[in-house]
């Protein structure tokens, strides 16, 4: 996993709610056996017509909106556990997703892939959508070290929560597996004590 760096970027608004991982990356694109290239099919059926031409009214096809930050309506990433959804967002270039709440598995998958999910209150989310609407190029700042998201114009700093362990992982590019492997002795001891039949 790559280290998470401080971000100053404009944001892409996707106010739809309950965006499920079948929309983020449809099942028919899950046949790859590597982690790369999923960005091409990110939001495939919202982004392209069936003949492969771009759908003009979809936000990712609007050159006015770009950036490392995706701002989405509540319950983002619900549905399937496919980690491909996090891979697709990351591969496309997103490093942060902001919403008023995330589906559990998606949130975990994002954190395991260097994609930072930031949960804000519904009021702040509305404020962010308004800020983007009034100036699509305005830049937000994400400071993971201090757990803040700075809004453009008002300069308002919103703090967000993150598990301290997960924060360390993101900042240093560590993944859970390194940590778990370091606990091998403890795991074996647990198995012996519980009489796990191996």
């Amino acid at each position: 996993m790559e280290k998470f760096k401080a971000i100053k970027s404009s944001a892409v608004p996707l106010p739809a709610e309950d965006v499920d991982t079948d929309q983020i990356i449809p099942a028919r694109f899950l046949k790859a056996t590597t982690r790369e290239g999923f960005g091409d099919n990110l939001f495939r059926d919202w982004r392209y017509n069936s003949d492969g031409t771009p759908k003009k009214d979809f936000i990712l096809n609007n050159p006015v909106y770009a950036g490392d930050i995706l701002v989405a309506g509540k319950n983002f990433g619900c549905g399937s556990s496919r980690e491909h959804a996090a891979w697709a967002l990351y591969d496309f270039g997103f490093r942060v997703v902001v919403s008023s709440f995330f589906a559990d598995i998606f949130k975990g998958n994002a954190l395991n892939n260097g994609l930072l999910p930031i949960t804000v209150s519904p009021e702040i989310l509305d404020e962010i959508f308004l800020a983007i609407e009034s100036n699509p190029g305005a830049e937000f700042s994400v400071d993971l070290e201090n757990q803040t998201l700075e809004l453009p114009v008002s300069g308002k700093k919103v703090s967000f929560d993150i598990d301290p362990y997960k924060k360390t992982c993101l900042l240093n590019g560590y993944d859970d597996l390194d940590y778990l492997l370091s606990l091998k002795d403890k795991i074996e001891q647990f198995e012996r004590e519980r009489g796990v039949v191996i």
Binding site: D18, D22, A27, D45, G79, A103, I105, N112, D163
Partner: protein, 465 residues
């Protein structure tokens, strides 16, 4: 203070706490399939790691497999490649694989329970959100991402934060024509698609107790559709009777010892839940969905609603437009083109029996294509033995070979653009059953009734006739 069932099982599996609040959780059983495992195997290979406890992993091929001519090589190239990759990886890492052609092959959440691999008190994971199904046996079972599949391969453990606990109690007697699928669609329609996020749900109450294991699995299966990490039901005599004599269940004296242990698995009387809901079984009627998430469900007797307060009107409107419905129109009477009976929600032998009992002597409408896809080879074999397959054929249904099939359309079984499918699966997301497909979720009975009537219909009217 007493403990919830969830906490009893969780506490028994904590290997070590992690500074900051997460915990290292030991995993008893790991199921894998071809779609979410290849990158995890590659990760192991890159690090030069073996699978730590190969005996605790069971593999099957289900998502990509064709439901016709399974004895022939898979025609679609990418699907074939993914399934072959699984076979190769299982061989390389020494894992048990119930692949195509094996008498135990089937949808991962159908075969685990039917083989007795799934047992009360266990922690179970799979790179698949419907792993929640296994919770019906009183275990903590949940879906994980591919990075976590790799972690379980390498260490048999996961880093987890403890979810909050919710209890949903359904008391009373179910009405005729109402199945467990209706119970869970009803619950999700009340709690919404995000209403369970952050929670692990225990289902309780006399209506839940009265259900068979198959019916309980249908309920736990869809816990994820309200955002819950998983759902579970305390094991009881129904659970023990189901498990007795299964292939990987404890045998003989071991079974009795295990049963004694399993009997301690319940929420203490004074256990406190973070949230509780109570529902009356008598209020539940056959349910159908009208929108593009499983929370958008109504009684089949109701009309398509408008956006509720708090619901985003734009998102709601987009869903209705996708489905070709208008607020205020009656859902019953809507002409449909397809019926799909299958998926890890409703493809077990009991589901097939219910459908066969209803279909006997009836025939599907001419304009409807109707497909029944059994959940496993064992279910398929039993359906043939019991003469169910013949009834399906006589009713004009296509009885296929096991797999996920049109639940997610990764194989050839897709619903064409703009057409309606009444489906016993668990997700009515846009494009789930094929690009542009319109999915109406329902119970196996309601789906069978739709096939016969050629339209969405209240199954109870056909049951009286």
């Amino acid at each position: 203070m007493g403990k919830t069932l969830f906490d009893k099982i969780w506490d028994a599996h904590v290997v070590s706490p992690v500074p900051g609040g997460m915990e290292v959780l030991y995993i008893d059983r790991h199921f894998i399939h071809e779609v979410t495992s290849p990158q995890a195997f590659d990760g192991l290979a890159e690090r030069g790691l073996p699978v730590f406890r190969p005996g605790q992993t069971v593999a099957t091929a289900d998502h990509n497999v064709p439901t016709r001519d399974q004895h022939l090589p898979i025609r679609e190239e990418l699907s074939r490649f993914q399934v072959e990759k699984l076979t190769e990886n299982c061989r390389k890492f020494g894992l048990e694989l119930y692949g195509l052609g094996h008498p135990y092959q089937g949808i991962v959440h159908v075969i685990g329970p039917e083989l007795g691999v799934t047992q009360p008190g266990m922690t179970i994971v799979c790179g698949d959100s419907h792993t929640s199904t296994h919770g019906a046996f009183g275990c903590i079972a949940f879906g994980i991402g591919t990075s976590q599949v790799e972690q379980v391969f390498a260490t048999q453990c996961l880093l987890q934060s403890r979810p909050k606990r919710m209890r949903i109690t359904v008391d009373g007697q179910l009405r005729p024509g109402v199945l467990s699928k209706d119970i869970i669609l009803y619950i999700i329609s009340r709690l919404t698609a995000g209403g369970g996020t952050g929670y692990f749900v225990e289902y309780a109450g006399s209506a839940i107790r009265s259900l068979s294991m198959e019916a309980r699995m249908t309920i736990c299966n869809m816990s994820i559709e309200m955002g819950a990490r998983g759902g579970l039901i305390a094991p009881d005599q129904v659970t023990f009777d189901y498990l007795k004599g299964r292939k990987f269940s404890p045998q003989g004296a071991d079974f009795d010892a295990a049963t004694a242990r399993w009997k301690t698995l319940f929420s203490d009387e004074d256990a406190v839940f973070d949230k509780e809901y109570n529902f009356d079984a008598a209020d539940i009627e056959p349910m159908v969905t009208f929108g593009t998430n499983p929370g958008m469900g109504i009684k089949v007797t109701q009309s398509v609603p408008g956006a509720k307060p708090g619901e985003n009107p734009a998102t709601f409107g987009k869903a209705l437009e996708y489905m070709g419905f208008e607020s205020g129109e009656s859902i019953s009477g809507k002409k449909i083109q397809h019926v799909f009976i299958g998926s890890c929600t409703n493809s077990r032998i009991e589901d097939l029996r219910v459908v066969a009992r209803f279909l006997k002597g009836k025939r599907k409408a001419d304009h409807v294509t109707a497909m029944i896809v059994p959940g496993s080879q064992q279910v398929a074999a039993q359906a043939k033995e019991e003469g169910l397959a013949e009834i399906f054929q006589e009713a004009g249904f296509d009885f296929r070979e096991p797999g996920c099939s049109a639940c997610l359309g990764m194989n050839e079984d897709k619903i064409p653009q703009g057409e309606y499918c009444v489906s016993t699966s668990n997700r009515n997301f846009e494009g789930r059953q094929g690009p542009g497909a319109r999915t109406i979720l329902a119970s196996p009975l309601t789906a069978a009734a739709a096939a016969v009537a050629g339209q969405v219909t209240d199954v109870r009217e056909l049951m009286i006739a």
